[in-house]
């Protein structure tokens, strides 16, 4: 097993106290002979937007299902909003909104009727408040105009929105979204991001799984990277991104001249599509720019390079697949 890259205040703190909305320890799930999830220690800080990142079959959905008490772990423990799962489900789940494994609704009912049915099972909704809560949720996801239509005729994006609406029927302390932007067009994806941002602003903890890196990078404060059923990295997004070598990207029309100038000043650099990438391990940003300007290189723009989430992801997941790795398991295999 590869060591887990962990940064920030959460590193190596098994008793992190009340600041965690969800916590797993040594989580393991075995379906017949296939290991879906192994040794998952996940910490979701309260008020965070945590992105769960991983390729298909990396155990994201299985972990979420155990977190929500839908699946009993083979080993390990799960805590959700301070309650042990799955036993604490009656206490924890009323305050958790979830969209897991795609939206599930009845095709013969309208969107509104489907939501009413879900709403009638929500403990924290008063019976008299159901119609209002349903309309509010429909408006919030932009489905008000299609609420009377049968679910059967909904587009993929509308189905996804209805699923989101059911997670937002009641004000929650935590919202769990499994691949929420599946099937959404760019406008829809942006709306989901806005909703997540609103939830974050309200202080709601959000756990969102995705295999779309840009989506996670744009919406999350924290990130957990899963690969082959284990967490290979987790922590605050900014810190994770900066854990690589710092670099400065300089855009200039004189690429070769810039490289020569850098070499003369013993600064490592290379040409990238974005511009000249100067390594900041041995020099500071002002030193790099000074060196370039002195050699007559036209500097149009200089910015600090962040290790893209994509780089980080590639680094974390490749390292693992080169070694052993667990057999690939289809998510949700029963």
């Amino acid at each position: 097993m590869t060591e887990t890259l962990s940064v920030g205040a959460l590193a190596g703190a098994p008793t992190a106290g009340p600041a965690l909305a969800a916590r797993t320890r040594g989580l393991r799930k075995v379906y017949r002979t296939a290991v879906a999830v192994d040794q998952v220690d996940l910490d979701v800080p309260q008020g965070a937007v945590m992105g769960m990142l991983g390729p298909n079959g990396s155990g994201k959905t299985t972990t979420i299902r155990m977190l929500l008490g839908l699946v009993r772990p083979t080993e390990g423990e799960v805590e959700l909003l301070g309650h042990r799962m799955p036993e604490g489900a009656p206490r924890a789940l009323p305050e958790v909104g979830a969209l897991v494994e795609g939206p599930g609704f009845h095709p013969f009912l309208s969107g509104r009727e489907n939501l009413r049915r879900v709403a009638s099972a929500e403990p924290r909704l008063a019976s008299a408040g159901i119609p209002r809560a349903v309309e509010n949720a429909l408006e919030r996801v932009g489905l008000g105009h299609a609420a009377h239509r049968r679910y059967r005729g909904y587009s993929l994006g509308m189905k996804q929105r209805l699923g989101l609406a059911s997670a937002l029927l009641v004000p929650r302390r935590m919202v769990v979204l499994d691949e929420p932007t599946n099937g959404l067009d760019p406008a829809g994806t942006r709306e989901i991001r806005n909703i997540i941002a609103d939830l974050h602003a309200e202080g709601v903890t959000v756990l969102v799984s995705s295999h779309l890196l840009a989506e996670v990078e744009a919406t999350c404060t924290h990130v957990a990277v899963l690969h082959d059923g284990t967490v290979v990295a987790q922590g605050e997004l900014d810190e994770l991104l900066e854990s690589g070598t710092p670099a400065l990207i300089v855009s200039t029309p004189d690429g070769d001249q810039a490289l020569t100038a850098l070499r003369d000043n013993r600064i490592a650099g290379r040409l990238t599509p974005e511009g000249v990438r100067a390594d900041l391990a041995a020099a500071t940003a002002p030193q790099v720019i000074e060196a370039l300007v002195r050699s007559g290189v036209a500097v149009h723009e200089a910015k600090r390079a962040r290790t893209g989430l994509e780089d980080l992801f590639a680094r974390l997941t490749q390292r693992d697949s080169e070694t052993d790795g667990l057999p690939d398991v289809d998510e949700g295999a029963a």
Partner: protein, 289 residues
Amino acid sequence: MTATLDVTPVERWSVPFHRLYRAELRWIFRRPRTLIVLGLLALIPVIIGIGLTIAANNEGPGQGGGGGGDSLLPAAAGNALVLPLATLGVTLNLMLPLITAMSAGDALAGESSVGTLRGLLLAPVSRGRLLLMKALGVATFTLAAAVLIAVVAMLTGLVINGTGSLFTLSGNTLSFVDALGRVALAAVWVTLQLWAVGAIALAISACTEHPMLVVVSVLAGTVVSTVLLLLSAVDWLHPFLLPRSWTAIADILRDPIPADQLSEGAIRAVCYIVIGLSLAYAKLSTKDG
């Protein structure tokens, strides 16, 4: 964008059960399939009534009809009391168990296949309450089906034969109220048998995601049981087979009502219900959602 804040949450951890039950009934009886099945069921007594009358007119009383090996059918011609029981008896052999299985199949397997069972578990509805809600839903639907058949058959009989035709098989004429009581007793007894089928069907339904599998299993179980009941070589098995007492429904039309077979059938049904629901709970409580 903070619209959901308008709804003040209630501080409680579970929904009042009657709300779940009402939502379940709404779901069952809004389903086009349910309405179509009930509509078709209502046609059966009308068709049997009309068919028997035509046959009786052609062949003379007591000769017409037949079919399904049910001895009641010929007697139903010209008798407004026998028609409801004969129809219940005929449909109990196959039709009613099938629609019970359909309803139980939709209840868990069907919900599981479209992903809505997960939604209920996440609400959360505890697994025990979920089973109770589903069992009551199936029970209500089967009760509705049996009562519908009885009422339509009674009306058909009265329209065709008038209120003066309420004889028992023993030859006594009953008052309208007494006749209504006998029909109600038959409907309740049939419903109890259907609940037994429904409990087993729910147990199967908890194990699969395919509602069709539930229907096929119940169909196979009913047919195999009926065949086994014809084989004297396995008569040690007969007391355990639910359809054994299904022909006893005719006893309700005798004076006085011979209760032994009817009550044996009722006890057998209760045993099936207990076993079926226990199995369903055992499966549902450990099922991955």
